[in-house]
Symmetry: C2
């Protein structure tokens, strides 16, 4: 199944994605058993971030080639950081490059695990069973700010810096897929989605030693490659078996 959220009359509504339409649901499918209350055509849907997580977890260095490129040390245990919900935006909505951002303004294509149940002190098997589904994240970074600031607050969490979508796919072997990053249709990166130092379940086991995961929490799994974005570009991230997350890039104050 593919679940998402769309804006209908200004209201956020869960939906189940079909071939041409999105069936609108009475409630979140993550915990409940919602009923169908309507439908909208996919062609005109206003896509929202697939979920607003109670906590937004993000893994840093997790792909060997990324670590080598950054001359970083390979993690010896899973660790996790945080991103902020204000930065989330949906499929097909613009990534806004703030006025004043100089230097590298980059996309990172990431697999995202969506947690389906409350979880503490999970085994690896329990971690596998706790996944509701998988989606795609684009971890936008303004590198000059990243280096100037004490935290990642504006470099990674300015409004629209975290596209997530287009939907949550519940039936896929996510780690057996290929992640492909395209800018204006041209392939800029392609790598095995599962080529990670520690996989999502390793991370969940470690996180839940100290932390209770909650339904709807998201865990962004890091990226192997980054690429530069310019206003006017369209950036697509495809993970085979899941879908394509597509977003145009705009300069702040210049929506055309």
């Amino acid at each position: 199944m593919r679940y998402t959220r769309v804006s209908v009359g200004g209201r956020a509504v869960w939906g189940r994605v079909g071939e041409e339409d999105i069936e609108l649901l009475s409630d979140s499918p993550i915990e409940g058993d919602p009923t169908v209350i309507g439908e909208v055509p996919i062609a005109t849907a206003h896509w929202l971030p697939v979920v607003v997580p109670p906590v937004f977890y993000a893994v840093g260095y997790n792909y060997p080639r990324h670590i080598a490129h950054a001359r970083a040390e390979t993690p010896t245990r899973p660790e996790v950081g945080y991103r902020a919900n204000n930065a989330l935006t949906g499929h097909r909505t613009p990534i806004v490059k703030p006025v004043g951002v100089e230097g590298r303004f980059e996309a990172e294509p990431e697999l995202v695990a969506v947690i389906g149940r409350t979880l503490r002190r999970a085994t690896y098997k329990e971690a596998q069973e706790a996944i509701f589904g998988w989606t795609i994240g684009n971890d936008i970074s303004a590198r000059t700010w990243q280096h100037q600031d004490r935290t990642f607050w504006r470099s990674k969490n300015s409004d629209t810096f975290k596209p997530m979508g287009p939907w949550i796919e519940t039936d896929v072997d996510a780690l057996a897929q290929t992640t492909t990053l395209r800018v204006n249709g041209e392939v800029r990166a392609s790598f095995p989605t599962g080529d990670m130092v520690f996989d999502p379940f390793d991370h969940i086991v470690e996180i839940t030693r100290h932390i209770t995961l909650q339904p709807g929490d998201v865990l962004w799994m890091g990226a192997e490659s980054t690429c530069q974005l310019e206003p006017g570009d369209t950036v697509d991230i495809e993970i085979s078996g899941i879908g394509v997350l597509s977003n145009p890039v705009q300069l702040e104050g210049n929506p055309s």
Copy 2:
């Protein structure tokens, strides 16, 4: 007014705090105009974190004496980091010290601003007007983990590491108050709440240059002092004009 949330029959319910009772409310008072649907005695209330924020902001170095003590550099502009909602716990609920935490396990008494409206590119005056009210936070840190880890994930965000309460006070000049930290009734720190490098409104102006603040977001303002906690202690943080946030400390797996 004093607003909080309590657990009633396992459900989180907003309340308005009176002398002896908490009037239960139909909805959040932050955006709506809720009606009274019942009441519970304060004496037996099960206090919850006063709000579950869309985003949980936390200021680091912000008090001159803390900065001098840590030999840190005084910030030249407001910056902000993040904490995680799983770590929130309410007034009178235990702070659980995890098995395996060695070394310093410390409390930090913090003023917390609760945002009342959607806000972007705020002026200082708009920032002042956007505050719904003020509460108290205890920023618990396991220092050895803080130094060992790449992020603050478990050192500052393990379950129960972020007590917040007892209520949101809407009618107080928060920056004119005194913050007092007591362990087992003994004063361990006391400082002017408003003696900050950058005040909450300075931070909101800077944050909203890049980020949309949302109703219910919280901004923890940092602390001047820290103090060590041991299992068996009770830690109270008082901010005059707001109230007292009190939490017992327990060792994990040992609730007595």
